[in-house]
Subunit: 299 residues, 4 copies
């Protein structure tokens, strides 16, 4: 791994998880580059900062995304393999990753902090939430730490660097590309990641979301914190029109319009024989109705 | 169109064709950024410029293209619509183009210089080559100029800016998006074009080729001249291993290997009853054989 | 152009505009292929059609788009060049277009029907709306028809097929790639277009929108009508959760939540000294507020 | 994992490695679809199979790749995670992968067969080659098997399914997304993979190459064997003009041209004071010269 990076005290780097980091290496463009590209389409007009802000908000709110592609960010990231496997699904980035075929893998492995060890969520099939006994957390932490150490030792033995008590004379060692197959997906990897701002914003939308796994959320949050100051107007608009916006379905609109005429949910329901009939009228599932009530704070 | 650009005397801009230009607005990265990204995969090693050159040549010659994607170039381009239609086929770029729906189209149209007016090529189904009488060139030039002027005038009439002798009181004018449909594809358009260096090199490979239409070749040449100085080692390697490299088919290799044993084409042919049999042995078509002879200067 | 296509009476083809068509050539996958791909991630579970529908609606409403990419549609399209220039901006499709370098361009040109000739919209900077005098419509129609005929004649003269009264002996003719530069962007072109269902749905979202130019809207509508029956559950969900959904900004949510507590806009405004103060509180621009009122039918 | 797939005896599936498979689920198009798309550009012409073959060979040899994108293949693949990590770098595919957040990971792990356990290659920094003592192979095999079993057991303990002798009452279990982090990258995963034929051919070019890791080469070979019969003409041309073609650099061409005039390497060298001077004249590195000699069987 790159030993030269002095992450500590480097303002372009943020430490994440137990051994990881996110660093901002380079950017291309700024808020004004977005405006410049948009104006080739929409005509020149006036050019004050106030008007730049208005144009950028217009672009984001109307999903006119091509001017936002004119900017780029290049990041240097160190994360566990299982997080990398999620990150790499974003196909619009350019990336170079550390290779376990060319080089020896690092001896660093992710072991979650006590407060991040949680049971399976009962409401979210893919996530974790709630609490568990401290004793079981301790057990989990111990298992994860031990596996990291043991697997790494076996990796060294396979590479022929450690005899491992096997008493084999003249150890040759297995090739790196094979030996690394015993390492767990908690093993850290390292990469450069370059992406245009529009696609990076899409990644941030998905990976800062509460449904994303905690370990990739901290990566996304670090990216946001590093990149946002370079494009303050674009990110302000992104928060307002994308990140914190909600998509309201055709059916939800029907109900909201009726409610906005001044009636309550209870009053509307009175016209139906049952909640099922009421929901059928609007085309909503029971679950969608519950989500809608929570989202709009209806009683 | 953007009037503010002072192309004349601006070293970042190259004038092309009769009214066009290519300008380099911004780049991201340099030769060393390519090396830096490659080294995260291949291990750190030494770092002299001489070794940077060697690594970059290795990357290009082995088509290890991902580190080259770490660089970007952003261009400002003014070209006729028919050239834009070719450029836009390169789907990996980000682009913003002048819009004939939002703004009025320019009154500039491409009319080829006399020396660029040529008849259909007899060998290349898609190209032009050879000469034609000066009188016919003049006629072609006049037709193209006249159509540009006439169509632009009709465009103005449609927009309601010019009565055009129609004697209509209170002209309303047709919408821009409809009026522009009468403009020929020689009409100039303007755009920002951002692309990573790997994909830009692919564009340059295809569009600096002698089979590309002359009018896009001058665009590609201008891009090359502007971007090359920013990445001198990468482009040196690209010329040697990509642009001026040739792909030699399985069949062509068979014949070349036999020739490299010291025999001439004539000597090899003596073992066959006919050229057809000879070509069948190697699996070459007659045309491929002629191309091969020309390429390798065989007699 | 392909003469073999018998569009008339072919149920896979829909005629559009004056000389265009959209044909569905092939599809890959169906609703069940989406479900199959999703289940490799989410686990198998039950498999009734009712549950397929539920899963597909879940995917669309939560923007889990990768299973939808498992389907494809291949279309055969004939449209004017200016519509093609809009279509080609969707970079995720595979396409092959008729080439004016290889072959002679067709003599067909788009001339809008009387009812589609409209003035520039006063509210939409890029569109058309409202009415104009019949006399001016007639004039516009005549100009467009005449330019089509005249430019095509000049194209034939340039190609050397028509003397055009120039009295040049032994006409050579200009190459096709140059001669076609005098043709207007209303000239028809032809292409194959293949795209995965997720990206096709994105195209349809943008191009069936009322802000899209009428001439590409009819293309998008025809695509929808041809492709929808192949993926009925996916398109039903798309209409409900994507096409007819609205994105509600952070600011708009603030106001809607207050309104949903039972207060009217007037009642809320009473707490502020002015509309400006009221809008500032919610972070809405005047235009956004007007749009919001219209969208939610607030009085 | 999908239990329903009856891989055994299913002609669309090929078993690979110890527990993996590649299955061809669906294709779109065939050789003729490529021809059909090409002809919209190049004009119709005649249509015999013989001419289809000629056109397809022309397309592949001239890298006219867009008609080849008109075809698709969808595969069902089961491979170890470390192979998946290589596969996913091909960003042009659509894919759905089994999720260790939603579902429990399988108990299957890749352990290489004895004959595939090899030491680090001395010539190829990323590969393996040569032999090693049987005893060490056995040791390696044992380590890999044992780690698979042990890590899977710890995974079960973390999930709360196995007490593991920890004597914790009322085990809750850690969430799946955390527990899976102890599994090694030899663990099997499963996915659907859909890609257009042009990009699939690019994947096959890179991953059937002798420099690709053995474990992904068997995946690529299986894909080739399943997909090739659906597009026999396209793959015949691909083998001849792409897979088995070589790229000959500008410098290599200079030397080959001189050799093809009938001189041997020795004769050419006589004009220089040293091999270094000779190589400098042609711009070749020592390594490139050695590769060139081997490739062209020069003595």
């Amino acid at each position: 791994m790159t030993k030269a990076i002095d992450v500590e005290g480097n303002p372009s780097y943020i430490r994440i998880l137990d051994h990881g980091f996110v660093g901002l290496i380079d950017t291309m463009g700024d808020d004004h580059a977005i405006v410049q590209a948009a104006r080739v389409s929409y005509g020149s007009g006036t050019k004050s900062v106030r008007e730049d802000r208005g144009l950028i908000r217009y672009l984001l709110s109307h999903r006119h995304t091509s001017p936002i592609e004119m900017c780029e960010a290049k990041l240097h990231i160190k994360i566990p393999i299982f997080v990398m496997r999620q990150l790499v699904r974003h196909r619009t980035a350019s990336l170079n990753e550390y290779s376990g075929r060319y080089s020896e893998m690092t001896d660093e492995f992710y072991v979650p902090a006590f407060e991040d060890i949680k049971p399976q969520s009962t409401t979210n099939k893919q996530g974790r939430s709630g609490e568990m006994p401290g004793l079981e957390k301790e057990r989990a932490h111990n298992i994860m730490s031990r596996i990291a150490t043991e697997n790494y030792n076996e990796y060294q033995i396979l590479l022929g660097k450690d005899d491992g008590g096997y008493n084999i004379a003249d150890v040759v060692g297995v090739s790196r590309e094979l030996a690394r197959t015993v390492l767990p997906v908690s093993n850290y990897t390292e990469l450069y990641w370059k992406q245009d701002l529009h696609n990076l914003m899409h990644l941030l939308k998905l990976r800062t979301d509460s449904h994303a796994q905690y370990e990739i959320r901290v990566v996304a949050d670090a990216i946001y914190n590093l990149v946002q100051p370079k494009f303050p107007l674009a990110f302000e608009a992104w928060v307002d029109y994308v990140r914190d916006a909600v998509s309201v379905s055709r059916m939800e609109q029907l109900l909201l319009k009726d409610l906005l005429q001044g009636k309550s949910v209870q009053q509307l329901m009175q016209d139906y024989n049952s909640q099922t009939e009421f929901l059928e009228h609007y085309g909503l599932s029971k679950r969608e109705f519950e989500d809608l009530r929570a989202r709009w704070q209806l009683n």
